[in-house]
């Protein structure tokens, strides 16, 4: 009975988070095309619904009813596995993201944390581990398609993984040193009490360099412009998903956007204070409405995440694509030394000025 209830509550939480994520993906597909259009003096989609707001539904219907093609000579098992392998890690990472304050509520005699599905003590490690599995989906999809464009896209993805993956991990180490925990809930709680406590600018050692390294690496991780080498539509048709159509293509597409949301959530939680407001406490809390303070926190979290998502669009509208030797040189010769130096300095600062 106890286990059944717990399972039901967990499933409800998962369903809610998945629903919000999928809804955000839908909004993002439209928002990206709109924002990109506006930045380039275009209008973006205008046909479906007023000002094109129903475009994601039309796109979804189109992808759902499209023919599912497996090219001759493709490795059927791998070809089927790759989109799932790309989508699942992108979705599963949301399990440890704290979307709101870490309060517990009593429900049917159980302690439930409503804003985080599971507060495991190695949260950030778990996200990093699954994010690197997501790259396997791309590489396998490129390899199993039996197409030269897909293979080149997959190869580039492999080359890209080794240049950003390390920097993501090393950029996060500084934050972990300061907060003393791998749990995203604890890391967020360590930044409470105003924007001067956020790890980007927090004393004893501001993580601004680590933040920049993380943001650049996360753009590479999500295969977005200017690091969209595996996709490279002007060179490789569509890169690793050239041969995919219908729902398999949609899986890759959703995975890309879910990954964007995930890295934005992590960046917000690690560096920008997660759900903490930039001032001490919450306005609703100061007004005596403690029961409603979570709304303000969730709104702040959403605002930070959407800022990062806008940054992704903004970069896409502005920057041209790098070659992969440029990306690797930048990753290994610029970002890696910065991340390592940041760890050393943060460790020294954290030793002499413990928080």
């Amino acid at each position: 009975m106890e286990i059944g209830l717990r399972l039901a509550v967990s499933l409800a939480q998962i369903a809610a988070v998945m629903g919000v994520v999928m809804l955000t993906v839908m909004v993002l597909t439209l928002a990206e095309r709109k924002v990109l259009g506006w930045m380039q003096d275009r209008m973006g989609p205008m046909e479906v619904g007023p000002y094109g707001v129903l475009q994601p539904i039309a796109d979804g219907l189109k992808l759902f009813f499209k023919e599912d093609i497996i090219p001759a000579g493709a490795n059927k098992f791998m070809f089927t596995l790759a989109p799932i392998l790309a989508l699942v890690p992108a979705m599963i990472g949301f399990a440890v993201i704290p979307f709101g304050p870490s309060m517990t509520i009593e429900l049917f005699g159980m302690q439930i944390k409503p804003f985080v599905i599971s507060d495991i003590n190695i949260g950030i490690l778990y996200i990093l581990a699954f994010a690197s599995i997501g790259a396997y989906g791309i590489i396998l999809g490129g390899w199993s398609s039996n197409s030269k464009y897909s293979l080149l896209g997959g190869l580039r993805s492999a080359a890209q993984v080794i240049s950003y993956e390390l920097n993501v991990g090393l950029a996060i180490v500084g934050v972990i040193l300061l907060s003393g925990s791998l749990s995203l809930v604890k890391i967020t709680e360590a930044q409470a009490g105003g924007f001067w406590n956020w790890f980007v600018i927090a004393m004893p050692f501001p993580q601004i360099f680590a933040f920049v390294v993380y943001v650049i690496s996360s753009v590479a991780e999500t295969n977005r412009v200017p690091f969209d080498l595996p996709e490279a539509e002007s060179e490789l048709v569509a890169g690793f998903f050239t041969e995919y159509s219908g729902m398999r293509f949609a899986f890759f597409f959703i995975a890309e956007y879910a990954n964007m949301i995930l890295v934005s959530c992590v960046a917000a939680a690690l560096f920008l204070g997660g759900w903490n407001a930039p001032y001490p406490g919450t306005i609703l809390g100061h007004l005596g409405l403690d029961a409603l303070a979570w709304i303000e926190n969730v709104v702040w979290f959403a605002a930070k995440v959407y800022f990062f998502l806008f940054l992704f669009f903004w970069l896409r509208a502005t920057l041209p694509r790098l070659r992969y030797d440029q990306l690797m040189r930048f990753g290994w010769k610029v970002m890696l030394p910065i991340a390592l130096g940041n760890i050393v300095l943060t460790a020294i600062a954290a030793y002499f000025f413990p928080r």
Partner: protein, 191 residues
């Protein structure tokens, strides 16, 4: 990878250059440009099927055969358009007007619009102004054979695009008039 690159004369990077590299100055300039366009949003898009742009007067669109104001065809079947056409779009089958052995007309007139490049040379070549270029351009069809037009279709296009027709010139005796045009350097005959 050793690639021979012609190097420019080396300049010692100044402190400003170093600072610009460190702060991604060039990237920030670009991002400022895109953000400016987002904030001063003035789209130049024309929502095409809903709004159409004004075409210029000399627009070269779909070709058409014209008629005089009394409803007779202008075309005299001289084949000059066929000769002028660089893409061999036009095929004219010329014939005598029944009962009038000095006058000719086009018995059949075909245009293969799949090949037409809308240069307008046929219109220039026509001595009787029997060809015209309309402003129609929405001629997308599902079957390209629908673009092989015959005389009736071309006349129909002319009828709907040029409702105001030219008056028939009666400057010469109808039996000797081959090209029914004015010859300004010659003294005109009294009818």
């Amino acid at each position: 990878m050793n690639v021979a690159v012609t190097t420019q004369p080396k300049r010692k990077p100044s402190f400003g250059d170093w600072l610009k590299t460190l702060t991604f100055y060039e990237l920030l300039v670009g991002m400022k440009a895109t953000l400016t366009h987002l904030l001063n949003y003035k789209p130049i898009t024309l929502q095409y099927p809903h709004e159409k742009r004004l075409l210029p007067d000399n627009y070269r669109g779909m070709l058409a055969l014209l008629r005089y104001d009394d409803g007779t065809e202008k075309c005299v079947g001289c084949d000059l358009c066929e000769a002028a056409c660089p893409s061999r779009v036009i095929r004219v089958v010329s014939g005598e007007v029944p009962g009038e052995p000095t006058k000719r007309y086009s018995k059949e007139y075909y245009m293969d619009m799949t090949r037409c490049l809308f240069c307008g040379l046929c219109v220039d070549a026509c001595p009787v102004d029997a060809l015209g270029m309309t402003r129609e351009f929405e001629w997308a069809v599902y079957d390209k054979r629908q673009l092989h037009l015959n005389k009736q279709q071309l006349l129909a296009i002319g009828d709907r695009s040029f409702p105001v027709r030219e008056k028939r010139l009666e400057l010469q005796h109808p039996n000797v008039a081959f090209f029914n045009v004015t010859f300004k350097h010659l003294p005109q005959k009294e009818n």
